[in-house]
């Protein structure tokens, strides 16, 4: 897949499905016509770097796709928070998050009901409302930051990585190094700041979790409590989160330390997989508390169902974690090879900057 195809594919991802093929074909045709025109002028084929310049002039694929969309809805409270470029993605992510959260809530309440626990409509309603508030606030905050970044730096995007804060997931047969501006040899400030904020929030949440298990179990905290294994791996989880904060802080000061980021990320991911391993090995993740501990209703059955859900979740997390380690290790090896090949990656990064 050449540069043009990858650019068009990036635009197509943000287009309405109905028009996707038609617009993609026309856009491809326009870009190829422009390249041919330029080649006729120069009397030779354009190099990959020259093609990149042409594509950069066309702008961020997300912004271009938004121009084709007739739906220009946005989120605004007095002033615009999330613009039309990111709005469709915002809705998708929010719907997915809420769908998943409500599904988990439904499973927990069903399990409690099956086991004979008394559940009030008020309980269900307040849990759903709380989750709706938390999810909407967090997702809106993240997207508003991305939107602000996109507005401030509309030209900060690259075909093999980040586009206005969103990963375009474009797989390249060959790594492209954009020398026009900051590119692959640079950790963006936005990424570092986002990681620091998200990790700090996670840290605060984990600290409070010890005192308020309802933060993870919701109203089920009246009948359930976290199994001892969570307290055993707690220190390791905190350590990994702190390591990520330290790493992001260092990259904030030294954005060109790509190798450092690569190594720390692999170590943190291995640590994460280790945590998941210990958790899976434990076999039980919630235990009975309150009335359930006293044997009210079908307690054993409830615990079995909830622990089964935890098992599925942990196995899923383990698979994702293992896949991430493989991916990041491959990236790290490529990075190391690139460094030894060019002899001086730092120089490339600086040139990019």
């Amino acid at each position: 897949m050449d540069l043009v195809d990858r650019y068009v594919k990036a635009v197509a991802k943000a287009l309405p499905e109905k028009q996707r093929e038609d617009i993609s074909n026309e856009l491809t045709e326009d870009i190829r016509s422009e390249i041919e025109d330029r080649e006729r002028e120069l009397g030779r084929e354009l190099t990959e770097a020259e093609q990149e310049v042409l594509l950069k002039q066309r702008g961020n694929p997300l912004v271009l796709a938004a121009r084709y969309r007739q739906d220009h809805r946005s989120v605004a409270f007095g002033r615009q928070i999330i613009g039309p470029v990111l709005y469709p993605f915002y809705i998708k992510v929010l719907s997915f998050n809420l769908g998943l959260t409500f599904f988990v809530i439904a499973v927990i309440f069903t399990a409690l009901a099956v086991s004979g626990q008394k559940i009030g409509v008020g309980n269900i309603f307040s849990t759903c409302l709380l989750q709706l508030f938390i999810q909407s606030s967090v997702v809106t905050l993240i997207f508003s930051l991305v939107d602000k970044n996109l507005e401030k730096h509309p030209d900060h995007w690259q075909l093999n990585g980040i586009s206005g804060g969103l990963t375009l997931q474009l797989k390249a047969e060959k790594e492209i190094r954009l020398r026009i501006e900051r590119g692959a040899g640079h950790v963006s400030r936005f990424e570092s700041v986002s990681i620091i904020i998200a990790s700090a929030l996670a840290l605060a949440w984990m600290t409070e979790l010890q005192n308020y298990p309802a933060l993870i179990l919701g109203p089920a905290a009246a009948f359930l409590k976290l199994a001892p294994i969570w307290y055993q791996v707690y220190f390791l989880i905190v350590l990994l989160t702190v390591a990520e904060i330290v790493r992001a802080s260092i990259n904030l000061v030294r954005p060109d330390w790509m190798l450092f980021r690569g190594i720390v990320r692999v170590i943190v991911n291995v640590g994460g997989l280790t945590v998941v391993y210990f958790l899976i090995r434990a076999g039980s993740w919630v235990t009975a508390a309150g009335s359930m501990a006293e044997g009210a209703g079908n307690s054993a059955r409830t615990l079995e169902i909830i622990n089964q859900c935890f098992l599925y979740g942990l196995v899923g997390a383990g698979i994702i974690s293992a896949a991430t380690i493989v991916l990041r290790t491959v990236q790290l090896i490529r990075q190391l090879r690139g460094q030894s090949g060019s002899g001086n990656v730092g120089a490339t990064a600086k040139e990019g900057n």
Binding site: I23, N25, E29, D30, V63, Y68
Partner: protein, 112 residues
């Protein structure tokens, strides 16, 4: 932000607003003769009405949806290209718009 920058931004916004209406007229006029997107863009550029592709193609689609243009995919120089031309309804609208534009132009000339 300095007053100079403010003025420049304001001018740029007003200029874009002024051009927006004229671009529709220019595109409709240019498509009295059938063309595909890239040649249309080049033609407009050479005529001093440069328009970037991110504005042109969505505009062409909008005009086609409104029934002012018709298009078809055809092969030319071994590549499939989408050719646009003014529809019958578009020709009527273009005529009316040109009359309106001439009238606005005459009024403005009288005032300036």
């Amino acid at each position: 932000m300095t007053p100079g920058t403010d003025n420049h931004d304001l001018f740029e916004n007003l200029r874009l607003e002024l051009r927006r209406g004229s671009l529709v007229l220019a595109v409709l006029a240019a498509l009295r003769k059938e063309q595909y997107g890239y040649t249309l863009r080049k033609m407009l550029e050479e005529a001093g009405m440069a328009i970037d592709e991110g504005t042109l193609y969505p505009l062409l689609r909008r005009l086609e949806t409104q029934g002012l243009l018709v298009s078809e995919w055809r092969e030319e120089e071994k590549r499939k290209k989408r050719f646009y031309k003014l529809s019958d309804g578009g020709a009527v609208i273009l005529k009316e718009l040109l009359t309106e534009w001439k009238s606005i132009n005459a009024s403005l000339n009288g005032m300036l």
